[in-house]
Symmetry: C2
Subunit: 453 residues, 2 copies
Amino acid sequence: MRRVDVVTMDKIVSLCKRRGFVFPSSEIYGGLGSSYDYGHYGVLLKNNVKDQWWRAMLRERDDIVALDSAIIQHPETWRASGHVASFTDPLVDCRTCKLRFRADKLEDAQCGRKPSKHPGETPECDLTEARDFNLLFETTIGPVKDEGSVAFLRPETAQGIFLNFRHYLQFARKKPPFGIAQIGKSFRNEITTGNFIFRTREFEQMEMEYFVPPAEAEKWFTHWLDERRGWYLKLGIRDDHLRLRPHDHEELSHYSSATSDVEYLFPIGWQELEGIANRGDFDLTQHAKHSGQKLEYVDTASGERYIPHVIEPAAGVDRCVLAFLADAYEEDEIEGEQRTVLRLHPLLAPVKVAVLPLVRRDGQPELAREAYEQLRGHVQAEYDEGGAIGRRYRRQDEIGTPWAVTIDGQSLEDRTVTLRDRDSLKQVRLPIDGLGEELARRLREPWQSPKQD
Amino acid sequence: MRRVDVVTMDKIVSLCKRRGFVFPSSEIYGGLGSSYDYGHYGVLLKNNVKDQWWRAMLRERDDIVALDSAIIQHPETWRASGHVASFTDPLVDCRTCKLRFRADKLEDAQCGRKPSKHPGETPECDLTEARDFNLLFETTIGPVKDEGSVAFLRPETAQGIFLNFRHYLQFARKKPPFGIAQIGKSFRNEITTGNFIFRTREFEQMEMEYFVPPAEAEKWFTHWLDERRGWYLKLGIRDDHLRLRPHDHEELSHYSSATSDVEYLFPIGWQELEGIANRGDFDLTQHAKHSGQKLEYVDTASGERYIPHVIEPAAGVDRCVLAFLADAYEEDEIEGEQRTVLRLHPLLAPVKVAVLPLVRRDGQPELAREAYEQLRGHVQAEYDEGGAIGRRYRRQDEIGTPWAVTIDGQSLEDRTVTLRDRDSLKQVRLPIDGLGEELARRLREPWQSPKQD
């Protein structure tokens, strides 16, 4: 697979910083390990990814509704879910280098004196027995730190959905199968982070809990495997860079009877992009027990009542962004000059169109501004008059802008412009007037991916 | 002002819960004081508010770029900003009722034995001297709780912008005046919360820092007062429910030479919706000092260098949502029946169009589904075939849906539908085909507010 050699994590990190997609967080203070801030184009790209997820969940179906629950939920939530008791990593301390490592990931440990996978075998490292450390970020509500005021930052958005399940039966008049979808930040106090935005302590999730009659759980599990895989493909991910990997028996969480990961072939290898789990009735049952409330569906007509089973597609926003960037990243040559180009799906591209006067005189900037004003009423547009036209094209290619509109001498005579395609590099002449509608129309059309392996 | 009598906080809270806009958070566990979850229509409304803010900041101007920085920044950030030292509330304890109150807000205190405004004057309350309590939520990064691993949840998004200022000079090739805009969650461990989503410990902000040459600060301060006021008006807020209130000298923060609040006439009275501050060079100077980095603008052509001054419009997303809801809330009478209607600006309305077959037979549901499939390709749409048509209209009115499309007998003959307007209640007949484009076009038009005082 040729591309894996071309795209490296270093190249992506470098482009992200150079072009304003992602910066190391708190950099002027020396950074804060594995924490990142999204710059201008990163925000636009990430917002587009989230928009497309909402679109697939809410706009293109009518069995799913939205939720945005608080990051700090009642602490009992995390006792019921099992997180307080068992959301842990086994950690070991090294008595020599004074560092701490995940006992099950010693081979990934980063340390001057790299601890051996087998404690005691190397003289440099002197590891303690593994102990369990909880991954919940803890804080206190109210001005006094006492037992009663301890709260947690949620480690997943999912539980907020189960807590609100009853409300949705009422106001949304929903009966299973139906889903509740949520996008939001989650926090896990992990010791092993890394690989850029792939694994960070603070991250954003897109989770949907799909409530079904128990007998239909398997059918809907398969449905969601297909749906979610299709979502990535439709947004341009290469078919052979995407796979479904079922968890084997030992890997399965205690609450799940089946889980498959959607994996993407990152520059660091196949890694989880999204997990799709059949959670059974574990969550509703647990919260019913801990709250003393009935969390079940009652069919008022038939009198039938049951605790729905739950299928959960849970994706990471940051991982999606990384996968879309990695998959879009290409280097090619134009007229002897090397070019880096992000072949992002136009719907995901941070900027849809750049408006460029060929030269900075003869009325071209004025007409270009006019075209720009029109275009930005329809799509995210950028105006750029600085520097040679080739360099301006390169800059737009690097941020993945699918179209560039160039205003030249002829434009002033007949109000036409050239529309340059990022991928085919073809230029066609089109009238300025109506161009905004034309691009909006093209955005609605299915996309023919130009990516090659 | 008649409306203030009609719209009460109770009515809004009740509608929000009944119709799925906002629920008390963690309710099955008895709630978590002043914490709320947004339900389906609340998410859609809130997303629309944020979209309109992004639109005003990014799409309609080209001097502002976006950022999404981490919630947990390097702790030095909050020493530099002054939050660690002085982001405090003065609190008093009552020795009798064992509760704790803000010393400066005793008149708002909620307690069985309400403490007097003047400690010592009533026999029931026995208040301690006021002590300062810091409002930063604290947590620890990594598995060990020690001094070095303490971190804070950001109390405002603004500081993340100052930390990234240098990056933006580079990649975005910006020179002052330019702005960096951000939307995200912030956390303040306040003891006095309340008034529904008006003041909560966890809340969402829309902040923009606008960097200007020092001599132009006053001019841009005025510019942003006008711009931000205009934003609310354009989105339908009543002119006489909105005012600018300049802070007097005692109110001003130590870093600000001028601040004006955009205030809205909530059912609880005039309250801050957004603060617009001239922060001078306070923040960049502080971070330069604490980081040892130069945070200044250098004009490579002229050699001119200076620390830009900053104008900051800082709005609360949740407060905006509450204001838009309160301002939209009306009760009227249709054919002798009372109706609650949200006269939301169509751009803000959670659902743009409802598709309703008049009856559930004769092929009407099938044609209605066809219309629905077309419409949802263009705008957020809802399909509803259950119950009497009048009741279905009422339900859409209550969630603020501006248009309802009804499929009736004639529709099956000539493929026309009636389009009902939420506000005028007028119905016009239009062809099904092209209706999606027509509604998308109407959404782009300026809105004539039907609200009355």
